[in-house]
Symmetry: C2
Subunit: 590 residues, 2 copies
């Protein structure tokens, strides 16, 4: 029989109708001489009832064999439910089963198919098809599909062309580590899976496509964290002839549309904007969570004459104030905060508590001379806890910024119903890499410098500012973009500033430089991290919860066992041999 509707869609209006449903046995109970079955499908659960005194013997017989997760087809009449269940949308009704077909059986599942299970991640991934049956998971994927639907229609409407870019692309060492794909036809040569279609979409602008978008898989072979996966999806867009402001406006419209259609939230536009410098100074972060205050307060001027040399001699001293929280933190608790801050480079954490107009704590005695200034500047009130870091400005910002987020969680300062979007603008073009002992791109080498700082490409790289903009949501980097370089001379200067030789620039990016010989239009764009966006909308804290078949933290799939060994023939066709020990290991052993 053809299914009449989803189980979760049966309502009072169907009372009296004979319908057919198909789905999974969520539960079977034998109660008061009746057999009750909760039938589950994508849209929900409805109760089935079989009265052995009235039903056909074969139906009763089959019903008695039913176990959890059996797949069944039932036909029967919708009736009013004697005991209404207010928790279920179908709770007004039940079906009196007249026909029953068992479509498939099931063994006992390794974990229960219900919300809020406490099961280790690898077991969930190994039986992902069961994990995904749980209503809270299914809900995430409905949300994800809705989000992409809204995004596509919004961009289609604005004349953006959905264009697919290659997955088998060229390896470029600049940036993160590539996933490589050996070529069989060109022996010893490799494709790379794209980290993003950055250059390709720029070339589409050169092709005159004017407005491009794509919801596209990208790949980075980096070590994994909670919100990282080897493959991830971005909403990628690029436009010609628009200003940074115009691109941001389009993005804001897109985000507002998603928030309205999926969450029913009306965003107020324009979204707030903050310069990178302000963000670092006030929040100690380039992706500040503005759902709570507790900003970083600069005290360098106030402490410059105190006797406490840790403060007076430090290049920068800042503090954050945990309002009305002094009682919550013992010395031991504060030691833990100190350990936390040390992970971000701080050498230590100074603190005072404020109470009855007095400051107290181990360093209070050194600060008596400025107690009044401090109290005023920090607007201290009873039971406030003040945490100080004194160090290089960058260390101060990083450690207090991290501590700020940490405390907000501990003190439950965050209003989880808020979705605080924020643009971060006026980015530095470069950041210093301690590892590589050189300046590297803060975004990527195709970002257009702000005109009034471009001369520093041949001077102080720390002073070059980028026409770049990141969009932040609740302390997460949701995406970012920039205007791009479209003039060959500027692109060459950029490569030079990054330390590329002419040869290596040409070898890696020669095709882009060449493309700039032929009327490359002004252009710019943006990319949003789709997984992260959906994760935040779904109020999850790991992107795995919004990816159907993610990898675990070893980048493997416990279900299929990918990656796996392959046959000698496969390797031979690729002219590859797997080493037992690689060169860096050999060198270590010497």
């Amino acid at each position: 029989m053809k299914r009449s509707m989803y189980a979760g869609a049966v309502r009072s209006k169907h009372i009296g109708q004979k319908i057919t449903l198909k789905g999974w046995v969520s539960r079977r109970r034998d109660l008061g001489g009746l057999i009750f079955i909760d039938l589950r499908d994508r849209e929900g659960i409805v109760q089935l009832v079989i009265n052995p005194k009235e039903a056909l013997p074969e139906v009763v017989e089959k019903a008695e064999t039913l176990r959890t997760e059996f797949v069944i087809e039932v036909t029967g009449t919708v009736v009013e439910r004697s005991q209404v269940n207010d928790k279920l949308p179908t709770g007004q009704v039940e079906m009196q089963v007249e026909e029953l077909i068992i479509l498939n059986t099931s063994q006992t599942t390794p974990f229960e198919i219900k919300n809020g299970i406490d099961v280790n991640d690898d077991l969930r991934l190994r039986y992902r098809y069961l994990d995904l049956r749980r209503p809270e998971m299914l809900k995430n994927f409905k949300l994800r599909a809705k989000v992409t639907h809204v995004i596509r229609n919004y961009l289609d409407e604005l004349g953006f062309l959905d264009v697919e870019t290659p997955m088998l692309s060229k390896s470029t060492p600049e940036g993160a580590r590539d996933y490589l794909v050996p070529s069989r036809i060109s022996q010893g040569h490799f494709y790379a899976l794209p980290q993003s279609p950055q250059i390709t979409k720029q070339l589409l602008m050169n092709a005159g496509f004017d407005r491009y978008y794509q919801i596209v898989k990208c790949f980075r072979d980096e070590d994994l964290r909670g919100d990282r996966q080897p493959e991830f999806t971005q909403v990628d867009l690029e436009t010609s002839f628009l200003s940074d402001q115009e691109i941001q406006d389009i993005t804001e419209g897109l985000i507002a549309c998603v928030m309205k259609e999926t969450m029913g939230i009306e965003l107020q536009l324009p979204l707030p904007r903050m310069s990178y410098d302000t963000a670092m100074n006030l929040y100690g972060s380039d992706k500040p969570d503005t759902r709570f205050e507790m900003t970083l307060q600069d005290l360098t001027d106030i402490v410059k004459d105190v006797e406490f040399k840790v403060f007076s001699q430090a290049p920068a001293v800042k503090a954050i104030v945990a309002k009305n929280a002094a009682d919550n933190y013992s010395r031991k608790d504060i030691d833990k905060l100190t350990d936390f801050a040390k992970q971000f480079g701080a050498k230590g954490l100074a603190w005072i508590k404020y109470s009855n107009g007095e400051i107290a704590g181990p360093v209070a005695k050194f600060l008596t001379s400025i107690a009044k200034d401090l109290t005023e500047r920090l607007q201290l009130e009873d039971n406030d806890l003040v945490l100080f870091v004194a160090d290089e400005l960058e260390v101060v910002n990083n450690s207090l910024g991290a501590l700020r987020n940490h405390l907000a969680k501990e003190l439950h300062l965050i209003d989880k119903s808020k979705f605080n979007f924020l643009w971060i603008v006026d980015w530095p073009m470069f950041e210093w890499s301690e590892e590589e002992r050189r300046y590297v791109s803060a975004h990527h080498p195709f970002t257009l410098p702000q005109a009034d700082t471009a001369h520093e490409l041949e001077g102080d790289l720390s002073k070059v500012r980028a026409l770049a903009y990141d969009i932040v949501l609740n302390g997460y980097e949701l995406g970012g973009g920039s205007l791009r370089i479209n003039q060959k001379e500027m692109q060459e200067r950029m490569f030079q500033a990054l330390g590329f030789s002419n040869e290596s620039a040409k070898e890696q990016f020669g095709f882009l430089l060449e493309a700039m010989d032929y009327g490359f239009p002004p252009h710019g764009g943006l990319a949003l991290g789709l997984d992260r966006f959906v994760m935040l909308l779904a109020e999850e804290d790991n992107i795995r919860e919004v990816i159907a078949f993610p990898k675990n933290n070893k980048a493997s799939d416990p279900m299929t066992q990918a990656p796996s060994l392959v046959s000698a023939k496969q390797l031979d066709e690729l002219y590859l041999e797997v080493l037992k020990q690689n060169h860096s290991e050999k060198n270590e052993h010497r």
Copy 2:
């Protein structure tokens, strides 16, 4: 200045308005003391005019430096054009330029930016961004974006969930050759890029997603032909609890929607259906082009007593009739047809011409006894050419089927305005592979056998029929699908029939077999080749024309030079070494 509209969008209604346009100089002409510029953007071309006697000197000066493909911004007033150009949608108007900004310059392009160029493919690919500027190319990508837009909205509307499946998946030797991706974390292990998300989408059905779709990249490392690329895109869908007919109905609705929205063509539904056997018998092809007749006619019964042993002793003799074409084919021409037929296994081609009630040609003398029967069976008319193949049935069908398509092209029998869709149903489950000396899956090992033939899984494999269906468009396989196996026992029988040992079945597909322990619902689906579909709609004959950055026939990209050499460090991190000579070459040299 902000662009007011696209250049191609200026119309009479804008006369008198001051507007700003941005785009490329398609042509500059100095004529009668005036400077004319054709300005091109994504939506078309509009004429700009500068009168040196009236314009600002700096505008004139800049205008005189303009060359083809310069990128400019112009502001001016729309006026009526004195000499209307009916070929352009903007031909009623032109812009009198008041301001001119040169946004970028251009060198002379390696080929002209216009439709219908005759340039070799690698040059077009090397400068793909210029090739894509050509209006006929841009048009293809607008069509492609429209097609996917229509498909997505149709499927979203029907409750299909757009779910992304992994690109880094598991290598399975069954099927075509995989592209491999070495893992850095699991030394010596490899991911494979998916040939299709077949098993993954089945698992989504097991997860209760009920209706899934995805427009998704797939990968096959095979040698390339005109309509093959290493990566290609399919419209992939899967459903639970539906019959094959219901899945076909959904697909037909989808196709009808695409044809209406993109081509303005109303398809008549349901689409015609033909069994695999009928297609092979009448058209010698499992993807018959039904835009023309010239079906294969079985003559085995008529010729069984003729003295011509090539005919009388052959297992099968069939003919095709090229109507009114005898005059077009000299003996030499027919020799060419013979050579063509031999490529498909025919040992030769017999032929007769019919004229004035007589048959003529080298074999006519052997056929006089059956001339009347032939004439009647084939309904011969003056100037008909009859081509015979006598051989095993499969060879007869393959060679005459190919010849039929070949002749239709030579004789211009094809009405190119037609879009003939056709379902091929009742497929054999297996086909014999001469190469592997065993039966292999005609589709894939997850296809459900027709119930009344399933017992032949342990008998004559050639007799097992599949619940599979292909959709054909104008002689191309547009896509295909099937109902799938959802019972473990049946899946195990299938693997056994294909010659898998229990161990190898478990090693490769153990996770699927295990999934069948847990209430796997009945399910089925389909995949359409998007590149091919768009190619046919765009009336192109190579999928490269509808892929933005395709590979050439050596699977490389002449623009980026991908695949390319990678650094020793990259290989070392993957524990890989590239061999100069692989094992099969070493063995050859022994």
